[in-house]
Symmetry: C2
Subunit: 416 residues, 2 copies
């Protein structure tokens, strides 16, 4: 492998220094560059100020092989990134008539005339490569000189990110030292430290590396392999992924899956089964998340939110005695809610949540984060008790919804 | 007012340069410093590397009055921020026994012994101010020398932010040039450009400034006043806020309110009324957002998600003829859903949404983003048609839920 190229990311914009916007471009670029085996050693942000920007460009070009500047390519007088970068890097600007036409058509498609000021965006460096912008008017550009490389990209992330992938990655190909590929093994209902202990020897691995992460109610292991090509990297990663999946068993809900609802909707579709939801403390969150997945209408038709106790009786047939003897937040109530929603809706699977999300003290004296989730199907009844130990309403509701959706996954996989 | 102090924010951590974490500290600090009238001219990020960190500290101290470094205060050998910063700024470190005891108790409270490596965190600069950490083990610190100020804070945002507010703001008091206070006027169902036109003369204001922003489905105006004290700033802002509220009328749902659901739940409580939800394309999102507000149980008891057409008939009594003649996504269906949920649940107000969130093509040939929301109450029926023009499922569902909740607000305020 080649020696690693060094890169610096230079963000330009007074709005970042004022805190008006969060700089997410730096992270995106850092992740993409890491995957190419390019080291990012500095992130620098300066405002739309000639002197400080020129100083920052000089310093970045002096200490790095690659400099990527983002932001300040707009049509107004305070947008000076292109002018300053090209001047300091020794490239002249000239009007690019093709880009000028592109910008005109951009406005025409929107039924507008191009303001004259936008013509400024059509000036491009002589001897540089123009990066076309499919999502806005400002083109990006790349220049190479004496082994150094300077790239300029627009600031809005929805313009910058596709342009980086389409234009900058090929432009940087000669600096690539390797290909890094990551895969994520996602688990639910398993603490991060328990998961890490079950795989402690693998965490010492050098290639692929194995690293634990946690998200609300979930733990995941990221397996990252480094090789010359993506195929080779995948070959290195595969046996380690298989070993982890074997060890963690049914806690694993998916590899390279974005969320539990995605995996669960996929399984429901495969088995051609429908689910209906009965929600108390989550109040629609389970149904909302299931229907976040496009095409969920073939597996989800009907849900009832029974936030009040009398509604649990009236709409789901939970018995008055269960509610008065065991309380609304109890295994018995959760089970009757799940059976009730299946009976009322005729769905193949009924799933329910009842719990105490907080933050206020419960009249029954139960702690925030105590939640029961139950599943009812023709051949199966399951109930799980959850104790998050947290007094955080959004967290408790999110985790409760995840665990309810996970119950469906467990049932469909014939597990526990 | 005094001349403005110049500040630089120095983030330390290889995980930021790798893109593993998003640097949100910079934005938080920039916003807080702007409120004190302190100018941030540079954000710099370097990894856990002695040479590059020392260089960055020297440069920052050289060009700025105030340097705030965050991250790299952990107990491991690669955490070097404190050591490097103090050395370059000329402060010696010594063991602070009070802090050592604090760290020991932090572990004791969690039933653990303090690892010896954590003792490293108890070393503090001689002549500096120690900032206690209520949410972790690493203390922060502030040092002043020859008119310059260096502050070091831990990296995790939930440790850094409260420490900044509690310790760093008082420590920086002498650099404060003013107090900046902002208020937000929030509107819904009003485009950002229309809102801006209605207040175009006010956007030219210098103190307070008035700036338009947009969020999904909402537009807001931020009124920012600058004065010596918060009370004076508020006095300057007040007449402008009143004028904006007068001009924008019932589009305004609140001033300094965090979201439409907060304002709506407050109004429902005030009027002692209950609402029930009938949701198709939002599938629980309205109910979830209403119940995000703690204490919503007094105004929300029951909701039904009717994702499939036959469920709209069966559960809400929408007529078969309406569905077949006008389609599920129609004003007629929305109105019957709202009336149905009120009849079924006995709530004071019924609210409904039916629409087409996308991304797939609708069998009825309707465009993604076409949504109807309706309200039914004893003395009032309202229906609104929404056309977002976007093929973005999450956006369309979010906006649909917002507009449904806003219908309740409009009804309660006796509007339109």
């Amino acid at each position: 492998m080649k020696s690693t190229a060094v890169c610096e990311i230079l963000s330009v914009g007074t709005e970042i220094l004022l805190g008006d916007i969060l700089n997410t471009n730096c992270r995106f670029l850092s992740l993409e560059l890491a995957k190419m085996g390019i080291s990012v050693l500095h992130h620098t942000t300066v405002g739309d100020n000639y002197e400080r920007l020129a100083e920052a460009v000089d310093r970045a070009v002096g200490r790095s092989d690659i400099v990527i500047a983002t932001g300040g390519l707009g049509p107004t007088a305070d947008d000076i990134t292109k002018e300053v970068c090209c001047k300091q890097f020794g490239f002249e600007l000239e009007l690019n008539t093709k880009i000028a036409d592109d910008i005109k058509s951009y406005f025409e498609r929107r039924g507008k005339d191009m303001p004259l000021s936008n013509l400024k965006q059509a000036y491009c460096p002589v001897g540089g490569t123009v990066f076309e912008n499919r999502n806005g008017t400002a083109p990006g550009m790349g220049m190479k000189k004496e082994g150094k490389c300077l790239i300029i990209l627009p600031g809005p992330p929805y313009e910058m990110a596709p342009m980086f992938r389409e234009w900058a990655i090929p432009f940087l190909e000669e600096y690539r030292t390797c290909t890094i590929v990551s895969h994520e093994i996602r688990t639910i209902d398993l603490g991060e430290s328990t998961m890490a202990e079950m795989c402690s020897d693998l965490l010492e691995n050098e290639n692929p590396t194995v690293a634990p992460y946690c998200k609300p109610g979930e733990s995941l292991l990221r397996v990252t392999a480094k090789a010359n090509t993506a195929t080779e990297a995948d070959e290195i990663a595969r046996p380690v992924i298989d070993e982890i999946v074997r060890r963690l068993g049914s806690y694993v809900y998916g590899v390279d899956v974005s969320c539990i609802e995605e995996q669960t909707v996929r399984l429901l579709k495969e088995k051609n089964l429908t689910v209906a939801t009965a929600e108390s403390c989550t109040a629609g969150y389970i149904a909302k998340r299931i229907t976040d997945i496009p095409g969920a209408s073939s597996v989800f038709k009907h849900g009832i939110i029974t936030y009040a106790n009398d509604v649990k009786e009236k709409a789901l047939g939970v018995s008055h005695r269960t509610l008065s003897e065991h309380g609304a937040v109890s295994e018995e109530t959760a089970r009757e809610m799940a059976a009730g929603i299946r009976r009322v809706t005729g769905a193949d699977i009924g799933v329910s949540v009842t719990g105490f999300a907080g933050p206020d003290a419960d009249e029954e004296g139960k702690a925030p984060g105590l939640i029961y989730t139950a599943l009812d199907a023709k051949d199966c009844q399951i109930c799980q008790k959850i104790e998050t130990g947290r007094n955080d309403r959004e967290y408790n509701r999110y985790v409760a919804a995840s665990r309810a959706i996970n119950l469906i996954r467990i049932y469909l996989e014939g597990g526990r």
